[in-house]
Subunit: 395 residues, 2 copies
């Protein structure tokens, strides 16, 4: 039988990241392609102890159906957490627990996007989100970035020329894939423009806690006096991605619609996972844990940057992120980036081609994304050395 798929899904291709991750199943390949937290970042002993306690004390609660909105003690803790840490949460806001921030993005898209609606995004941006928007048949409008975030003049131009824009999608902290952090001035300007043009903002902040240099910049949601920002947070980078727990803070009316959509999507988020997150916040020193993570990633990013500076052809440039998991390397003008990636795989090193992150999926890129959180220190030294030889050979 020839299957006739929906137009929503038929155009979507498996993500380049995913295909490359599959290629890296070969253990001899050094992978800078993933976006996984460092294995040493998981509080394994704490999770063991907490999980044991939960299954001793509340086994039925942990195994039974639960409510779509999320485990109430976790929602209560998150109300305090986002208020204290990010200045987020007004009377009109509510919290929905989701199955990873990816689900928050997908539910927002499902609730807001009709065929042909526009989404304005930083370009390049996280392919998982771009594909979620595409899967609801929206059209992506990419706006390029400077070293301090999205180009706000071009953003205003995009808003003017795309009146059916539903929201602006942004990752203000240590953006994926570029590692760029948006300045406070630009955050204020993005908020002002969204308000002026009557569009929402979808603020995705999975990496915000992983700052290892510079000072915190307020979230856009913290400026949200008018109820136009949907904020997505996650436990994936601060506790565990395998648990699949994230959260959305948004005006009640939006959360109500997202809750209805989530009910049809997966009923509720794994309750044992939610209970583990809640108890971790309740019983452990979150600040100390985060300080430990920051130190891990500070060291790993410094090592990778030092190796790049020592080994790469000087015409290859890179960003200097203040946090997160990724570096963005740009090859010399006119380079064949895909040929570089393929030659790298032949030398046993994988990374993600920059073109995978473009809002225009036929666009071309001269950049690649390098992840420093997943490889070991030895793999960083070895892999960057191999890539360095390649840059010197190719450029």
């Amino acid at each position: 039988m020839r299957y006739q798929f929906s137009q929503k899904i038929d155009s979507l291709q498996p993500s380049a990241i995913r295909e490359i991750l599959k290629a890296t199943a070969d253990p001899s390949v050094i992978s800078f392609a993933a976006g996984n937290p460092a294995p040493e970042a998981f509080p394994v002993e704490a999770v063991r102890k907490i999980t044991h306690e939960i299954l001793e004390e509340y086994p039925i609660l942990a195994l039974q159906y639960s409510v779509t909105e999320g485990y109430q003690p976790l929602r209560d803790r998150l109300v305090h957490l986002v208020k204290e840490r990010y200045g987020i949460g007004r009377d009109f806001d509510q919290i929905l627990v989701v199955s990873g921030a990816q689900q928050g993005i997908c539910l927002a898209a499902h609730c807001l996007l009709d065929d042909g609606d526009k989404v304005i995004s930083e370009n390049p941006s996280f392919i998982g989100s771009l594909n979620a928007f595409r899967s609801f048949r929206s059209q992506l409008v990419g706006v390029e970035m400077g070293p301090d975030g999205i180009d706000t003049e071009k953003l205003e131009q995009a808003l003017k020329t795309n009146p059916n824009t539903k929201f602006i999608y942004t990752i203000p902290n240590f953006q994926n894939p570029t590692g760029i952090t948006m300045s406070l001035e630009k955050r204020k300007e993005v908020y002002r423009l969204a308000l002026q043009y009557g569009v929402l903002i979808l603020e995705d902040n999975p990496y915000g806690e992983l700052r290892f240099a510079g000072d915190d910049v307020p979230t856009i949601k913290s400026m949200d006096t008018e109820g136009i920002v949907i904020y997505c947070g996650s436990f994936s980078k601060v506790l565990s991605p395998g648990l699949r727990v994230g959260y959305v803070v948004a005006p009640k009316e939006i959360i109500a619609k997202m809750t209805v959509a989530k009910q049809s999507s997966d009923v509720h988020t794994t309750i044992l996972s939610q209970m583990i997150c809640e108890r971790f916040l309740a019983e452990y020193d979150f600040d100390a844990h985060i300080a430990g993570l920051r130190e891990i990633y500070r060291k790993k990013s410094s090592l990778m940057i030092r190796q790049i500076d020592q080994n790469f052809h000087p015409a290859v440039t890179h960003t200097n992120p203040e946090g997160g998991l990724f570096l963005w390397c740009t090859l010399p003008k006119g380079s064949d980036m895909l040929a570089f990636c393929k030659a790298a795989v032949d030398r046993g090193v994988a990374m993600v081609p920059g073109s995978a992150f473009l809002t225009d999926d036929h666009g071309t890129s001269e950049s690649v994304r390098l992840n420093f959180s997943t490889p070991t220190d030895a793999q960083i030294v070895d892999g960057i050395s191999r890539l360095g030889d390649l840059t010197k050979k190719m450029f």
Copy 2:
């Protein structure tokens, strides 16, 4: 700000089930409204032991990102399980692990339905699935059921008059909400008609293992020589719904699209949950566990039916399910079913109005769904007695 939601979601109302479940948060209310497994059905000791072992032996695997398709050892076990138990799985088929069967339904809808496409469903049917189809702007075509399943003459009529039908949705075993099981003859006829009219079948089998009377009937998927059946199974009713693990068996080409959609939806299913399911299948006697569950539900359904027969006005009829979690009671012709449900809540007993399960969400019903798995035996006796008094007063 006045939010403009997508047409997909704007028409969806929070399900009646969900609102009633909220009302039943009052612990003094006896709830026949839920669809939860009996608490005594959870293998708590096994889950404790397994979870402890997993977190001792494979903590990083359990906490790290995983692949969208599902935990490979679980997929391998499921290949054997569905083959041995349900005769399912041909060379062209593949398995995708999903976050509960609800996600399987939602992903199938996302991958197959364009605006205005038709879905033919048994009427009444499971509201969670109907809402998933509605949320992709499909149109529902309901076909009524007899005591042995869907009316196949009316099904053919519906297929003739709705040429843009994408699939037939069916719950052949102990259907939700009616408890009806489709006969083998009708399963064959549904398959034949789907093939003749060139539509797919979405076979939802969450309750199949919970048979406490009569003989097993082959799944429609077991007849699927042509690759037109998408089969959804679940661990929710046989192990734990809180873990959120289900699976889909379908032709590879369909699974490939659903995998892309799942990647945008939640990246992957909670890996600890998947590992718990896998190890439960590996280390415990699944047949003996299922036999225990069947005995629990056989007793509970017998008790409820006996109490109904002794207490209800004789003009109220009910189905006699051979398995599953639900009874379907029909009030005397011309009754005000919603008034009955409201009066019941006033007497401290909740159930789900039959109108919640209709494909036409403005339709009327004279039936109600009663769940016998969640309440205790004492609650069944007390609740049915109160309802009995009410039937005698109202009818």
